[in-house]
Protein backbone atom coordinates (compact mmCIF):
# COMPACT_ATOMS: atom_id res chain seq x y z
CA UNK A 1 0.00 0.00 0.00
CA UNK A 2 1.89 3.04 1.24
CA UNK A 3 5.62 2.63 0.98
CA UNK A 4 8.41 5.11 1.28
CA UNK A 5 11.25 5.47 -1.19
CA UNK A 6 13.43 3.05 0.81
CA UNK A 7 15.80 0.95 -1.31
CA UNK A 8 16.81 -2.21 0.59
CA UNK A 9 20.53 -2.74 0.97
CA UNK A 10 23.29 -3.76 3.38
CA UNK A 11 25.81 -0.97 2.78
CA UNK A 12 27.51 1.06 5.51
CA UNK A 13 25.08 3.89 4.77
CA UNK A 14 22.11 1.57 5.22
CA UNK A 15 23.42 0.14 8.47
CA UNK A 16 24.20 3.48 10.13
CA UNK A 17 21.61 4.28 12.82
CA UNK A 18 18.79 6.57 11.69
CA UNK A 19 19.41 9.14 14.44
CA UNK A 20 23.08 9.47 13.46
CA UNK A 21 22.19 9.91 9.79
CA UNK A 22 19.72 12.65 10.66
CA UNK A 23 22.32 14.42 12.81
CA UNK A 24 24.96 14.21 10.05
CA UNK A 25 22.40 15.50 7.55
CA UNK A 26 21.60 18.51 9.73
CA UNK A 27 25.30 19.34 10.15
CA UNK A 28 26.02 18.83 6.44
CA UNK A 29 23.15 21.06 5.33
CA UNK A 30 24.37 23.79 7.66
CA UNK A 31 27.91 23.38 6.34
CA UNK A 32 26.63 23.67 2.76
CA UNK A 33 25.28 27.14 3.52
CA UNK A 34 28.87 28.22 4.14
CA UNK A 35 30.29 26.61 0.99
CA UNK A 36 30.52 29.78 -1.07
CA UNK A 37 33.36 29.05 -3.48
CA UNK A 38 33.22 26.66 -6.46
CA UNK A 39 36.09 24.68 -4.90
CA UNK A 40 34.17 23.86 -1.71
CA UNK A 41 30.98 23.12 -3.61
CA UNK A 42 33.03 20.76 -5.80
CA UNK A 43 34.40 19.00 -2.72
CA UNK A 44 30.89 18.71 -1.28
CA UNK A 45 29.65 17.33 -4.61
CA UNK A 46 32.40 14.70 -4.65
CA UNK A 47 31.49 13.64 -1.09
CA UNK A 48 27.79 13.30 -1.96
CA UNK A 49 28.55 11.27 -5.11
CA UNK A 50 30.91 9.05 -3.09
CA UNK A 51 28.17 8.44 -0.51
CA UNK A 52 25.69 7.48 -3.25
CA UNK A 53 28.23 5.04 -4.73
CA UNK A 54 28.87 3.63 -1.26
CA UNK A 55 25.15 3.18 -0.61
CA UNK A 56 24.56 1.50 -4.00
CA UNK A 57 20.94 2.69 -4.28
CA UNK A 58 21.05 2.69 -8.06
CA UNK A 59 20.80 5.51 -10.55
CA UNK A 60 17.07 5.24 -11.05
CA UNK A 61 16.22 5.66 -7.37
CA UNK A 62 18.61 8.62 -7.10
CA UNK A 63 17.14 10.29 -10.18
CA UNK A 64 13.64 9.66 -8.86
CA UNK A 65 14.49 11.78 -5.82
CA UNK A 66 16.10 14.62 -7.79
CA UNK A 67 13.73 14.71 -10.76
CA UNK A 68 11.24 17.13 -9.14
CA UNK A 69 14.05 19.71 -9.11
CA UNK A 70 14.87 19.59 -12.82
CA UNK A 71 12.82 22.59 -14.00
CA UNK A 72 13.69 24.60 -10.97
CA UNK A 73 17.39 24.11 -11.72
CA UNK A 74 16.93 25.49 -15.23
CA UNK A 75 14.92 28.51 -14.03
CA UNK A 76 17.38 29.18 -11.20
CA UNK A 77 20.39 29.06 -13.49
CA UNK A 78 18.83 31.48 -15.96
CA UNK A 79 17.81 33.98 -13.27
CA UNK A 80 21.12 33.85 -11.48
CA UNK A 81 23.12 34.28 -14.64
CA UNK A 82 20.97 37.34 -15.30
CA UNK A 83 21.27 38.91 -11.82
CA UNK A 84 24.82 37.72 -11.03
CA UNK A 85 27.43 35.77 -13.00
CA UNK A 86 27.94 32.18 -14.13
CA UNK A 87 30.17 30.92 -11.24
CA UNK A 88 27.70 32.28 -8.66
CA UNK A 89 24.81 30.68 -10.54
CA UNK A 90 26.51 27.29 -10.63
CA UNK A 91 27.59 27.47 -6.97
CA UNK A 92 24.17 28.45 -5.64
CA UNK A 93 22.26 25.94 -7.76
CA UNK A 94 24.69 23.11 -7.01
CA UNK A 95 24.42 23.80 -3.27
CA UNK A 96 20.66 23.41 -3.41
CA UNK A 97 20.82 20.21 -5.46
CA UNK A 98 23.45 18.76 -3.10
CA UNK A 99 21.38 19.50 0.02
CA UNK A 100 18.35 17.83 -1.54
CA UNK A 101 20.44 14.87 -2.77
CA UNK A 102 21.93 14.32 0.68
CA UNK A 103 18.55 14.44 2.40
CA UNK A 104 17.17 12.08 -0.26
CA UNK A 105 20.01 9.64 0.45
CA UNK A 106 18.89 9.40 4.08
CA UNK A 107 15.36 8.70 2.87
CA UNK A 108 16.57 6.08 0.36
CA UNK A 109 18.67 4.19 2.90
CA UNK A 110 16.48 4.35 6.01
CA UNK A 111 13.24 2.46 6.62
CA UNK A 112 10.21 4.66 7.31
CA UNK A 113 9.64 2.84 10.60
CA UNK A 114 13.25 3.53 11.68
CA UNK A 115 12.87 7.22 10.85
CA UNK A 116 9.64 7.37 12.84
CA UNK A 117 11.32 5.65 15.79
CA UNK A 118 14.21 8.15 15.58
CA UNK A 119 11.69 11.00 15.54
CA UNK A 120 9.99 9.56 18.60
CA UNK A 121 13.34 9.38 20.42
CA UNK A 122 14.17 12.90 19.28
CA UNK A 123 10.97 14.15 20.89
CA UNK A 124 11.86 12.75 24.32
CA UNK A 125 13.53 15.94 25.59
CA UNK A 126 10.27 17.78 24.84
CA UNK A 127 8.38 15.63 27.33
CA UNK A 128 8.84 18.43 29.84
CA UNK A 129 6.86 20.73 27.53
CA UNK A 130 3.97 18.27 27.53
CA UNK A 131 4.86 16.35 24.35
CA UNK A 132 4.15 12.67 24.85
CA UNK A 133 6.25 10.60 22.38
CA UNK A 134 3.92 7.60 22.74
CA UNK A 135 0.98 9.74 21.63
CA UNK A 136 2.98 11.09 18.71
CA UNK A 137 3.61 7.58 17.42
CA UNK A 138 -0.06 6.69 18.02
CA UNK A 139 -1.01 9.78 15.95
CA UNK A 140 1.35 8.71 13.16
CA UNK A 141 -0.08 5.21 12.94
CA UNK A 142 -3.67 6.50 13.12
CA UNK A 143 -2.92 8.91 10.26
CA UNK A 144 -1.26 6.18 8.18
CA UNK A 145 -4.22 3.90 8.74
CA UNK A 146 -6.57 6.71 7.75
CA UNK A 147 -4.98 7.41 4.35
CA UNK A 148 -6.54 4.38 2.60
CA UNK A 149 -9.81 4.92 4.49
CA UNK A 150 -10.07 8.55 3.31
CA UNK A 151 -9.04 7.54 -0.22
CA UNK A 152 -11.83 4.94 -0.08
CA UNK A 153 -14.39 7.55 1.02
CA UNK A 154 -13.27 9.77 -1.89
CA UNK A 155 -13.65 6.87 -4.31
CA UNK A 156 -17.18 6.06 -3.12
CA UNK A 157 -18.28 9.69 -3.43
CA UNK A 158 -16.81 9.90 -6.93
CA UNK A 159 -18.69 6.76 -7.98
CA UNK A 160 -21.93 8.10 -6.53
CA UNK A 161 -21.40 11.30 -8.47
CA UNK A 162 -20.87 9.38 -11.69
CA UNK A 163 -23.99 7.35 -11.01
CA UNK A 164 -25.97 10.58 -10.75
CA UNK A 165 -24.65 11.59 -14.14
CA UNK A 166 -21.29 13.30 -14.26
CA UNK A 167 -21.92 16.36 -12.15
CA UNK A 168 -19.37 19.05 -12.69
CA UNK A 169 -19.55 20.64 -9.25
CA UNK A 170 -16.37 20.00 -7.28
CA UNK A 171 -18.15 21.27 -4.21
CA UNK A 172 -20.66 18.42 -4.49
CA UNK A 173 -17.63 16.18 -4.12
CA UNK A 174 -15.61 18.03 -1.49
CA UNK A 175 -18.34 18.73 1.07
CA UNK A 176 -19.39 15.07 1.44
CA UNK A 177 -15.70 14.13 1.53
CA UNK A 178 -14.98 16.48 4.45
CA UNK A 179 -18.10 15.24 6.25
CA UNK A 180 -17.02 11.65 5.59
CA UNK A 181 -13.56 12.37 7.01
CA UNK A 182 -15.13 13.87 10.13
CA UNK A 183 -17.46 10.86 10.57
CA UNK A 184 -14.47 8.54 10.24
CA UNK A 185 -12.48 10.67 12.72
CA UNK A 186 -15.25 10.77 15.29
CA UNK A 187 -15.86 7.02 15.02
CA UNK A 188 -12.13 6.48 15.50
CA UNK A 189 -12.18 8.82 18.52
CA UNK A 190 -15.02 6.85 20.13
CA UNK A 191 -13.13 3.62 19.52
CA UNK A 192 -10.06 5.08 21.22
CA UNK A 193 -12.19 6.27 24.14
CA UNK A 194 -13.75 2.85 24.46
CA UNK A 195 -10.25 1.43 24.77
CA UNK A 196 -9.61 3.73 27.72
CA UNK A 197 -7.26 6.25 26.09
CA UNK A 198 -8.74 9.15 28.06
CA UNK A 199 -8.53 7.45 31.45
Amino acid sequence: MLTGAYVPGRSVVHRAPAGAKLAVLAVACTALVFARTPLWVGVAGAVVVALYVLARVGRRAAWGQLRPLRWLVVVLMVIQVLVADLPTAVTLTARLVLAVALAALVTLTTRTTDLMAALERGLRPFRRLGVDPARVSLLMSLALRSVPVVAGIAGRIREARWARGRERSVRAFAVPLVVGVLRHADAMGEALQARGLDD
Binding site: V106, A151, R166
Partner: protein
Amino acid sequence: MAGRSRLPAGDLARIAAFAAFIAVLGLPGSFHLFGNAVPVTLQSMGPLLAGAILGSRRGALSVLLFLGLVAAGLPLLAGGRGGLGVFAGPSVGYLIGFVVSAFLVGLIVERSGRRPGVHWVLVACLAGSAATLAIGIPVQSAVTGVPLAETFQLSLAFVPGDAAKAVFAALVASGAQRAYPDAAPAARLDRAEDRADRA
Protein backbone atom coordinates in the same frame (compact mmCIF):
# COMPACT_ATOMS: atom_id res chain seq x y z
CA MET B 1 1.59 16.36 21.51
CA ALA B 2 -0.50 18.57 23.77
CA GLY B 3 0.46 21.92 25.25
CA ARG B 4 -0.20 21.70 28.96
CA SER B 5 -3.17 19.39 28.91
CA ARG B 6 -3.20 16.03 27.16
CA LEU B 7 -5.23 15.86 23.98
CA PRO B 8 -8.40 13.79 24.40
CA ALA B 9 -8.95 10.77 22.17
CA GLY B 10 -11.50 12.58 19.99
CA ASP B 11 -8.98 15.30 19.16
CA LEU B 12 -6.23 12.77 18.43
CA ALA B 13 -8.53 11.01 15.98
CA ARG B 14 -9.52 14.23 14.22
CA ILE B 15 -5.91 15.38 13.92
CA ALA B 16 -4.89 12.02 12.44
CA ALA B 17 -7.87 11.88 10.05
CA PHE B 18 -7.17 15.37 8.73
CA ALA B 19 -3.48 14.60 8.24
CA ALA B 20 -4.67 11.69 6.08
CA PHE B 21 -7.16 13.97 4.31
CA ILE B 22 -4.37 16.42 3.37
CA ALA B 23 -2.39 13.45 2.03
CA VAL B 24 -5.34 12.20 -0.06
CA LEU B 25 -5.83 15.69 -1.54
CA GLY B 26 -2.34 15.29 -3.04
CA LEU B 27 -2.83 11.79 -4.44
CA PRO B 28 -2.94 11.72 -8.25
CA GLY B 29 -6.41 11.46 -9.66
CA SER B 30 -8.21 12.24 -6.43
CA PHE B 31 -9.42 15.64 -7.54
CA HIS B 32 -10.16 16.88 -11.04
CA LEU B 33 -11.56 20.18 -12.13
CA PHE B 34 -13.69 20.44 -15.28
CA GLY B 35 -14.38 16.77 -15.78
CA ASN B 36 -11.05 15.08 -16.22
CA ALA B 37 -9.46 17.67 -18.48
CA VAL B 38 -7.30 19.55 -15.99
CA PRO B 39 -5.79 17.56 -13.15
CA VAL B 40 -5.28 20.06 -10.35
CA THR B 41 -3.98 19.06 -6.99
CA LEU B 42 -5.81 20.81 -4.26
CA GLN B 43 -3.43 19.83 -1.50
CA SER B 44 -2.81 23.45 -0.53
CA MET B 45 -6.51 23.61 0.40
CA GLY B 46 -5.88 20.97 3.05
CA PRO B 47 -4.30 23.24 5.68
CA LEU B 48 -7.07 25.83 5.17
CA LEU B 49 -9.78 23.21 5.69
CA ALA B 50 -7.95 21.69 8.65
CA GLY B 51 -7.77 25.10 10.33
CA ALA B 52 -11.36 26.03 9.50
CA ILE B 53 -12.79 22.77 10.80
CA LEU B 54 -10.45 21.65 13.58
CA GLY B 55 -9.49 25.08 14.93
CA SER B 56 -6.12 26.70 15.44
CA ARG B 57 -4.19 24.27 17.60
CA ARG B 58 -5.58 21.00 16.29
CA GLY B 59 -5.48 22.25 12.70
CA ALA B 60 -1.81 23.21 12.97
CA LEU B 61 -1.03 19.89 14.67
CA SER B 62 -2.68 17.94 11.86
CA VAL B 63 -0.54 19.76 9.28
CA LEU B 64 2.56 19.10 11.41
CA LEU B 65 1.62 15.43 11.59
CA PHE B 66 1.22 15.31 7.80
CA LEU B 67 4.67 16.89 7.40
CA GLY B 68 6.07 14.37 9.90
CA LEU B 69 4.85 11.53 7.68
CA VAL B 70 6.38 13.25 4.64
CA ALA B 71 9.69 13.65 6.47
CA ALA B 72 9.61 9.96 7.38
CA GLY B 73 9.82 9.22 3.65
CA LEU B 74 6.22 8.69 2.57
CA PRO B 75 5.48 10.15 -0.88
CA LEU B 76 2.41 12.10 0.26
CA LEU B 77 3.12 15.57 -1.12
CA ALA B 78 1.38 16.48 -4.37
CA GLY B 79 3.17 14.84 -7.30
CA GLY B 80 4.29 11.92 -5.14
CA ARG B 81 7.09 13.83 -3.48
CA GLY B 82 8.27 12.98 0.00
CA GLY B 83 11.28 12.33 2.14
CA LEU B 84 13.73 14.64 3.82
CA GLY B 85 14.86 16.11 0.49
CA VAL B 86 11.70 18.20 0.39
CA PHE B 87 12.77 19.95 3.57
CA ALA B 88 16.16 20.82 2.09
CA GLY B 89 14.57 22.16 -1.08
CA PRO B 90 13.12 25.54 -2.03
CA SER B 91 9.52 24.71 -1.05
CA VAL B 92 10.28 24.19 2.65
CA GLY B 93 9.01 27.70 3.45
CA TYR B 94 5.60 26.90 1.97
CA LEU B 95 5.44 23.76 4.11
CA ILE B 96 6.14 25.79 7.25
CA GLY B 97 3.64 28.33 5.92
CA PHE B 98 0.99 25.57 5.78
CA VAL B 99 1.31 25.04 9.55
CA VAL B 100 1.05 28.77 10.26
CA SER B 101 -1.85 29.19 7.84
CA ALA B 102 -3.84 26.35 9.46
CA PHE B 103 -3.28 28.01 12.84
CA LEU B 104 -4.30 31.44 11.55
CA VAL B 105 -7.42 30.17 9.77
CA GLY B 106 -8.42 28.29 12.91
CA LEU B 107 -7.87 31.36 15.08
CA ILE B 108 -10.16 33.51 12.94
CA VAL B 109 -12.88 30.86 12.55
CA GLU B 110 -12.81 30.10 16.30
CA ARG B 111 -13.44 33.76 17.05
CA SER B 112 -16.50 33.88 14.81
CA GLY B 113 -18.88 31.78 16.88
CA ARG B 114 -20.42 28.35 16.76
CA ARG B 115 -22.03 28.99 13.38
CA PRO B 116 -19.36 30.93 11.53
CA GLY B 117 -20.73 32.84 8.53
CA VAL B 118 -19.30 32.19 5.08
CA HIS B 119 -17.75 35.67 5.02
CA TRP B 120 -15.67 34.99 8.13
CA VAL B 121 -14.48 31.64 6.83
CA LEU B 122 -13.62 33.34 3.54
CA VAL B 123 -11.60 36.07 5.30
CA ALA B 124 -9.83 33.36 7.30
CA CYS B 125 -8.94 31.28 4.24
CA LEU B 126 -7.64 34.27 2.28
CA ALA B 127 -5.54 35.33 5.29
CA GLY B 128 -4.24 31.77 5.59
CA SER B 129 -3.24 31.63 1.91
CA ALA B 130 -1.52 34.99 2.23
CA ALA B 131 0.38 33.74 5.28
CA THR B 132 1.65 30.73 3.34
CA LEU B 133 3.00 33.01 0.61
CA ALA B 134 4.38 35.50 3.14
CA ILE B 135 6.52 32.75 4.67
CA GLY B 136 7.15 30.67 1.56
CA ILE B 137 8.48 33.40 -0.71
CA PRO B 138 11.25 34.79 1.55
CA VAL B 139 12.39 31.26 2.45
CA GLN B 140 12.44 30.27 -1.23
CA SER B 141 14.50 33.38 -1.93
CA ALA B 142 16.93 32.49 0.87
CA VAL B 143 17.29 28.84 -0.19
CA THR B 144 17.72 29.51 -3.90
CA GLY B 145 19.76 32.70 -3.58
CA VAL B 146 17.44 34.49 -6.02
CA PRO B 147 16.76 38.03 -4.75
CA LEU B 148 13.43 38.55 -2.99
CA ALA B 149 11.99 40.85 -5.64
CA GLU B 150 12.57 38.32 -8.45
CA THR B 151 11.22 35.42 -6.36
CA PHE B 152 8.14 37.51 -5.62
CA GLN B 153 7.58 38.18 -9.30
CA LEU B 154 7.93 34.48 -10.14
CA SER B 155 5.40 33.61 -7.44
CA LEU B 156 2.82 36.08 -8.69
CA ALA B 157 1.74 33.46 -11.22
CA PHE B 158 0.40 31.32 -8.37
CA VAL B 159 -1.61 34.07 -6.69
CA PRO B 160 -4.83 33.74 -8.78
CA GLY B 161 -4.88 29.97 -8.30
CA ASP B 162 -4.22 30.28 -4.58
CA ALA B 163 -6.97 32.88 -4.20
CA ALA B 164 -9.40 30.61 -6.06
CA LYS B 165 -8.44 27.70 -3.82
CA ALA B 166 -8.97 29.85 -0.73
CA VAL B 167 -12.48 30.82 -1.91
CA PHE B 168 -13.23 27.21 -2.71
CA ALA B 169 -11.90 26.01 0.65
CA ALA B 170 -14.14 28.55 2.41
CA LEU B 171 -17.22 27.33 0.48
CA VAL B 172 -16.41 23.70 1.27
CA ALA B 173 -15.72 24.44 4.94
CA SER B 174 -19.00 26.33 5.39
CA GLY B 175 -20.86 23.64 3.47
CA ALA B 176 -19.41 20.98 5.76
CA GLN B 177 -20.21 23.06 8.84
CA ARG B 178 -23.83 23.32 7.75
CA ALA B 179 -24.05 19.59 7.07
CA TYR B 180 -22.19 18.52 10.21
CA PRO B 181 -22.61 21.08 13.00
CA ASP B 182 -19.71 19.60 14.96
CA ALA B 183 -17.42 20.72 12.13
CA ALA B 184 -17.17 24.27 13.53
CA PRO B 185 -14.32 24.59 16.04
CA ALA B 186 -16.30 26.77 18.48
CA ALA B 187 -19.39 24.50 18.35
CA ARG B 188 -17.28 21.51 19.25
CA LEU B 189 -15.63 23.42 22.09
CA ASP B 190 -19.06 24.37 23.49
CA ARG B 191 -20.24 20.80 23.35
CA ALA B 192 -17.12 19.56 25.12
CA GLU B 193 -17.76 22.12 27.88
CA ASP B 194 -21.39 21.01 28.16
CA ARG B 195 -20.22 17.47 28.62
CA ALA B 196 -17.70 18.53 31.26
CA ASP B 197 -20.45 20.48 33.11
CA ARG B 198 -22.74 17.48 33.18
CA ALA B 199 -20.03 15.16 34.43
